[in-house]
């Protein structure tokens, strides 16, 4: 007796569920739960991390991310405009910058900035906040430039023609017509980049810091060493989710509201991958 297409699909779906369940059961039965519980969910260790993990760690993570994102936003916009410029030199410079910094690990850039700038300009006041603002900003800007470019190109040409035919200069058209509309289009991918940058701010731990400058990952790592427990990893991870989950929700909300379809009209898809 041959099954109908619908029946076959249901049987197949049942098999998929079965396999999934089997894998979960095998892991659940073979894992040493007592070990895991002691290592990852030690309540005393977790409590000992509060409130500093919030007041210092979470605080600094947010600050570093905000600084890097702000610099990235401004630099990225400038790069995108250069990338779309009719001046060949600007275009070339922007492409070179974007390709170069997009192709490097964020960590290397951060180290180069963090240790290189004080060497190049001795005597300048170059604290960790500035180093991260510039380092993360450079990396983020390379990605955001491409996002901005896609957004700007997604603004219909007729909008520019209308503005120009009313006598607006090219610069004013870009500032008051193109960028506001492009911004609306790229808000969802931009939110994704903010999430990626939040996680990249953890690279700050490689720059060395005072106690007051520690962010989530570094605090987690230090607590890891002193407590001989893996619980700090869970606590730090939980703190990241406090930041990133609302941002993810915001991104989906914005996508619904702006009707993500607009973006797909661009010839090249928007880069949603954040700095890595």
């Amino acid at each position: 007796m041959a099954l109908t297409k619908r029946q076959r699909a249901r049987v197949f779906r049942g098999v998929q569920y079965g396999i999934g369940l089997l894998i979960v059961v095998i892991f659940a039965l073979t894992a040493n739960w007592a070990n895991l519980k002691n290592a990852f969910f030690n309540v005393d260790v977790a409590l000992s991390m509060f409130p500093r993990i919030i007041t210092v760690g979470l605080y600094n993570t947010v600050i570093y991310t905000a600084l890097g994102f702000s610099v990235g936003l401004v630099l990225g916009l400038v790069l995108a405009l250069m990338r779309l410029s009719t001046v060949r030199v600007y275009r070339g410079l922007a492409i070179a910058y974007i390709e170069f910094f997009r192709g490097l690990p964020a960590l290397l850039v951060l180290i180069a900035v963090g240790y290189g700038v004080p060497l190049a300009f001795p005597g300048t006041i170059f604290d960790k906040y500035t180093a991260l603002a510039i380092g993360l900003g450079i990396v983020a800007s390379a990605y955001m430039a491409e996002t901005f470019r896609a957004g700007i190109q997604a603004v219909p040409a007729g909008q520019v023609e209308a503005a120009r035919s009313l006598g607006l200069s090219s610069g004013r058209t870009t500032s008051f017509v193109v960028i506001p509309q492009a911004f609306k289009i790229i808000l969802p991918p931009l939110t994704n980049e903010l999430i990626a940058l939040t996680k990249d701010s953890s690279l700050a731990l490689f720059l060395g810091s005072t106690i007051a400058e520690q962010e989530l990952t570094q605090m987690g790592r230090i607590a890891l060493n002193t407590s001989k427990s893996l619980t700090p990893v869970v606590v730090a991870g939980f703190c990241y989710l406090i930041i990133t989950l609302p941002l993810g929700y915001l991104s989906r909300y914005l996508e619904r509201r702006t009707g993500g379809a607009k973006i797909s009209t661009t010839p090249e898809s928007i880069s949603v991958g954040g700095p890595a």
């Binding site: 209308a162 035919s165 009313l166 200069s169 509309q181």
Partner: protein, 259 residues
């Protein structure tokens, strides 16, 4: 309002050529529009009529020839093109209202940024022009809340708010549902009756026939025939004009077969 020393010729185009790559779209166009005239340009798609219109405010840069509006030569490389465009209103097939601004701000935006009018003055002009196109009650609507016909009337009001010397219309009703065409044409007709100088690319033969002071028939990048509307549309002299009009006026029964 026009000063007596302003030239009678508002738009003067001579020897205009334009190519897109190897494709010659305009092959030597001469055109004059006098103050208060309504000139309609008709012709098959691909004939270059929209390109001609877009060359008049230099949205397309011509390859050769001369374009002057109000005595200002736009094809001069050192011309202040933004200043020249202030006095040339343009209405597009696809409306092109600023989608991030409401209707009132669409009308006030360029007045404030370009003409430097203060807010109260810009708003007064904007409301007067919205009233003129019959959409004063839509001042606070966003463009996407309006029908195509309403959007186009707002676009006309936006152009009028700059007090232009000439209005260019690029197939203003081609993107509209048939039942919305009339509202837009009525606004344009009133504008013409008020003495606005207009250059209109259109497929609306009835409108051209009734409103135009002159009609140009273009084909393959040249002006094939030019004259009063009754003559060009009613009694075309050229074979190409006759063929085109037969197709447009009677699309199903080609060449006017009896019913």
């Amino acid at each position: 309002m026009t000063a007596s020393n302003e030239p009678e010729v508002v738009v003067e185009v001579s020897g205009l050529t334009k190519s897109f790559g190897p494709l010659e779209v305009l092959r030597g166009i001469d055109l004059r529009v006098n103050r208060g005239e309504v000139v309609c340009i008709i012709g098959p798609s691909g004939s270059g009529k929209s390109t001609l219109l877009r060359c008049v405010n230099l949205l397309e840069a011509p390859n050769g020839g001369r374009v002057a509006v109000n005595g200002v030569e736009l094809t001069d490389p050192d011309v202040d093109i933004d200043a020249a465009r202030r006095r040339i209103g343009m209405v597009f097939q696809s409306f092109n209202l600023f989608s991030h601004l409401n209707v009132l701000n669409n009308l006030m935006f360029a007045q404030r940024k370009v003409l430097g009018r203060d807010k109260a003055q810009a708003q007064e002009v904007a409301m007067a022009n919205l009233t003129r196109v019959g959409l004063a009650e839509k001042a606070n609507a966003m463009p996407n809340q309006l029908s195509g016909g309403q959007q186009q009337r707002v676009a006309i009001a936006r152009a009028l708010s700059m007090d232009p010397d000439v209005m260019l219309f690029d197939e203003p009703t081609s993107a509209l549902d048939p039942e919305l065409v009339g509202d837009v044409l009525n606004v344009m007709r009133t504008l013409a009756e008020d003495g606005m100088t207009m250059l209109v690319v259109t497929h609306e033969m009835l409108f051209a026939r009734e409103v135009a002071s002159r009609v140009l028939f273009m084909d393959a990048g040249v002006v094939v025939e030019e004259g009063p509307a009754e003559q060009v549309i009613g009694d075309p002299q050229q074979e190409r004009t006759r063929t085109f009009l037969a197709r447009v006026l009677d699309p199903i029964h080609q060449h006017g077969n009896p019913q």
